[in-house]
Symmetry: C2
Subunit: 340 residues, 2 copies
């Protein structure tokens, strides 16, 4: 039986093996993903991002536990956790968190945890994460938690993969106006103040509310708040005139499981909002369009470089290093030398 | 007189205008950069990165002030500050810091400050920063401070532009092992504990030393420490057998200007190390090679897309959205439809 078939029949071994093949974009992984792609589109993708020290990993654990044993009577859901660490291009910085997590959730066949560290390739991490998420989706995981560290472009790219993005803050970090970056706020669908039992939680919430008001200025009452939807270049024509989503602020204390059920309810409410307003379809469209362009770019460069002689490349690079050609002129020279 | 000529003659106005043209990669900006590129290669590029709340901007200010009025008797140097904020893809998050800074250093014709916010384009910010830095270099700025917020892939890409990278920590943030990411440590040439008058500075330094020892494990005494150089894929053949650079840890209190002169001396020492070991040439080679690939990739995609009909693209995108094609299959379909 081939890998794709085994995965559809629930083999963890086949899934684990395919994840590596897919992450590294090996040919066999591409074939598995081609075969499984028609089975994707069911999972809810939840991005979780925030600065180090916010207790993000514990919160992801508690969310996973909640989805496995819902206290609200709903059926348990299969959960995948993809922990992405863009700050570890060289060493396996993501491994530590993984090990700690394994202790908590291991043994549950309805949970699968995967750590990814940057390979240093530009754009590579977001693309690899997209592929890994698609594989989990096809394998029947209902909820996929995509956890990233930090607040950079990589996190924003990865947040774009998600349907619902949680931005995690914590008291003591959030007091500083610098710690709450407008750009990160604007990708947040739900703001979470974790470690809400720590001193300073009121300050953090006040600062967040202030930033939210800046990001969503009141024009003519609540109904006219700026929203992320207004920035979409081409809103789906069939989207009904939607209520605006103002990111709610939720407090949690992950180790005591406080506020986690309420957070899950907020996530469900956001999912419903996305479906009802047609924004889910729009986000999917933008996401796949971006992935397509990225893949095209990589493929075109590879094809083109395979036709170029190492000598021609080295000659132009030397001219660049000696400042005889600017980077732009170097590219023009290479394109002339290697006409398709 | 054209822009390039005016810049070489010291016109700030021409420089300001060209910076915008170059940042947005407009044709006129490309021509200015082509004309000025032979004048680059003199500046020392210093990357400054670190988490929000470390007082990074104040430290950059104090460094700039030091280079303008050296207390060690050396001649004043012209300083450019490029403040890059990858977390602000939408709004102008970089502006606030810029205004605060302007108050301190404005009026000094030997200082030029430029803020950049992400345009949301993948890889776009690092490329735009590279161009802006080249323009400052050609315009005769001796020291270029490239300041970034955060700890993501964008920061690492931008750090790769620099000759010397400072990673800034502060007490209270650095206590948490999570706050000190191995990947960020590995791009650091110099570690700075700013706000060194705050409680917890000893803990931060201990944690940093611990991480450094992990990153540079002792094998057979000091001389055999792992180094960044050993990771270079092809060390320059003519590089002498170099002493290894172990990132030093420096304490500063920016508002009181404490430790700033010592930090500048450490930067000068690192510069000398780069020159003497041949690593400066190797870093330049890697930097320009990466920039060339990025530019090639963009140019190839643009050329290819310009030949593709919007209808063909839309058809394939719809097949992808309906899960009839995987992303990889969609790319293959597009490549078939648009043979060069």
């Amino acid at each position: 039986m081939d890998l794709a078939q085994s995965i559809l029949q629930g083999s963890r071994l086949a899934l684990a093996r395919s994840l590596s093949l897919v992450e590294n974009d090996q040919l066999e992984g591409q074939l598995v993903l081609n075969a499984l792609f028609p089975h994707t589109g069911h999972a809810h993708l939840i991005g979780v991002t925030g600065a180090p020290g916010t207790g993000k990993s514990s919160l992801v654990n508690e969310l996973a536990r909640h989805y496995r044993q819902p206290s609200d009577g709903s059926p348990p859901r299969r959960v995948a956790i993809v922990a992405v660490d863009p700050t570890s291009p060289f060493s396996g910085g993501a491994i530590l968190g993984d090990r700690i997590r394994m202790r908590d959730l291991s043994g549950d066949p309805g949970v699968f945890i995967r750590s990814m560290a940057s390979r240093g390739a530009l754009g590579g991490l977001a693309a690899a994460t997209a592929r890994v998420v698609q594989l989990f989706d096809a394998a029947g995981y209902d909820v996929i938690l995509i956890e990233t560290v930090g607040a950079g472009q990589a996190e924003i790219d990865i947040a774009r993969l998600a349907h619902t993005t949680l931005v995690i803050e914590a008291p003591g970090l959030g007091d500083d106006i610098q710690a709450i970056k407008a750009g990160i706020l604007e990708i947040a669908d739900i703001l979470v103040i974790n470690k809400a039992d720590h001193a300073g939680v009121e300050n953090t919430e006040r600062a967040l509310r202030g930033m939210l008001e800046l990001a969503h200025p009141i024009r003519r009452g609540l109904a006219n708040h700026h929203s992320r939807m207004e920035e979409a270049p081409t809103p789906a024509a069939d989207a009904p005139n939607s209520p605006i989503w103002i990111p709610p602020i939720r407090r949690t204390v992950a180790p005591e499981n406080k506020g986690v059920q309420e957070l899950a309810a907020e996530i469900a409410r956001h999912r419903q909002h996305l479906v009802e307003t047609g924004e889910l379809a729009e986000r999917n469209r933008q996401r796949f369009s971006a992935e397509l362009q990225l893949l095209l770019q990589e493929t075109l460069l590879q094809r083109w470089l395979s036709k170029l002689s190492a000598h021609a490349y080295q000659t132009v690079l030397n001219d660049l290093l000696d400042r005889r050609l600017s980077p732009r002129q170097a590219v023009e020279r290479l394109l002339e030398a290697n006409q398709p």
